[in-house]
Amino acid sequence: MNNLLITPVVIPLLTGMVLIIFQRNIQLQRVLSLIALIVTSVISVLLMNQIKNDGIQTLQLGGWEAPFGISFVGDMFSALLLLATSIVSIGCLIYAFSSIGRKQEKLYFYPLFLFLITGVNGSFLTGDLFNLYVFFEVFLVASYVLITMGGDKRQLQESLKYIFTNIISSAFFLIGVAYLYSMTGTLNLAHLSIRISEVGQDGLITTVAFLFLIVFALKAGLLLFFWLPGSYSVPPTAIAGIFAALLTKVGIYAMIRMFTLIFYHEPQITHLFIGILAAVTMVLGGIGAIGYWDLRKILTYNVVISVGFIMAGLVSMTPAGMTGSIYYLIHDMLIKALVFLIGGTVIHIAGTSDLKQISGLIRHHPRLGWMFFIAALSMVGIPPLSGFLGKVFITKGTFESGYFWLGGIGLLASLFILYSMIKIFMNAFWGETILSEEEEKGTTKGLLLPIALLTVGSLTLGFGAEGIAGHVAQAAEELLNPSLYISAVFD
């Protein structure tokens, strides 16, 4: 029993509710939400240390023993993601302070932001399949409202597409839950793992596994990313940043959890299929990233590429591949928030998202330009920046397990990323300065601090990789060893 596990869920939720009561006091809302997120990040560091020392932590809600009650389980993987979530959300929150606008702040922006974090944190920590669904809905409903904020015609159309896609995928999620419950009679993840390894993963269970694969692929944007470029390019920058950093990652987390803890018996069917999906995703995302001349479109297609790349590590099911996936997942959360915030700032300054009409921003905004350059190199995976280790380990893992084609496509996708990021850099920052400082549509006042914060975070992850290497290795070991998770829940 460890009550610390529930705090990353309860603190943002309680703060959000308090903020609804004090709706008019904007200053108080800002301070309280920032405090809540900082406390959450401190708690996730504490949790990480506890897990490092004592193994996987569990909490049975209401004292009802597993598998009858709802379990909360914190393993190293969840704790690392919690920490990354907190850092990213602090960055996006500070960015929102000076960019989101009075009207949105009055319309419950901060409570909704905190509910989003509640749902994401809960999804990382819960040890129950139905509870996972509930937390998915919590952050989805918050995101439905956040994505419509502002509300011009195009944004509304894309939001409706996003909402209906997610309603359908939630329905599929429930269908999967119903099938799994009628076959195994339990919804506790650890108990499901035991039951399925006892009866064996036959064709029917593998089919249900595919159903879950569809659900999480829709949420994560693995092949089924048709909704993603549109809906991530319409909301205000701070919201787009947090979406790109967190929402697809929760889908990836759920997929990694399900396919390492429960459906791991038939890797030659399920994992191979995920591998094919990942390869196609990387190629299609790459084509999108190099094809478009719209800044936000290019960035959203980069989100798609990274989803495919992270899944490649899961496919390999080797310690190296898993380590790589975890490294790259954390790196990707930070870096996607970073590039979306920088991209949004560029659009804010230039007043357009068309790369052909932006040029030479580096003359007046050298810091912004160089931070984008660092982020771009880091995304491509230049050592010693943060993307490098993830790429090396994932490629090593895929080669070790014999998926040479997958590793190859992953490396090819890096070239796509390189080309698309350098295209942005050359067009937006380099070249002739066409906007004088007076002509710029907006200022960067207050926007550079969160960007710098995330850049520092990403650099720390790159240069200090040795510091968390032990943690990541432990997380990978726990993922590849379901018995550790099971014994933690039942003892």
Binding site: V10, M17, I21, G63
Partner: protein, 140 residues
């Protein structure tokens, strides 16, 4: 819109009281029998919505001066608050407890901390349900 339905109004005058009483019964009954905060709250909300329908939003707002958004938030705060209280006693989050009290009229009565939790749930449900109806019907 000016509502002018004599039958609806006269029925509502009686029915609202009955619905409200029944919702309290449902709410208190919930510990061992069908009922509880959720449906208790829902039936209260239905009574309030019925009042809105028959007497118009303005008139009801004059008499019930509650911000239902805040009511919902306070409800959730109470519900999670009881869960967090168990953490203070070193028990897992959301642990409930109960005790028997000898009340003067009711005799031996069972009081459970789940009742406070249910109060929170009821307030949250009333707040949300009424709020949804209000925000759909607001700009007629």
């Amino acid at each position: 819109m000016k509502p002018n339905d004599v039958i609806l109004r006269s029925v509502t005058r009686v029915a609202a009281v009955i619905i409200l009483t029944f919702s309290i019964y449902l709410f208190m009954n919930g510990h061992h029998h069908p009922g509880g905060g959720f449906i208790g709250g829902l039936s209260t909300a239905s009574a309030i919505v019925l009042l809105y329908l028959s007497f118009g939003i303005e008139k009801v707002r004059e008499n019930i001066r509650t911000d239902f958004k805040k009511l919902a938030a306070i409800g959730v705060l109470i519900a999670i608050g009881t869960g967090t209280a168990s953490v203070l006693f070193g028990k897992p989050f959301l642990t409930q407890t109960f005790g028997h009290v000898d009340l003067p009229i009711f005799g031996d009565t069972e009081l459970a901390s789940a009742l406070i939790f249910d109060t929170g749930v009821a307030l949250a449900v009333i707040g949300t349900a009424v709020n949804i109806i209000l925000s759909i019907s607001e700009d007629r």
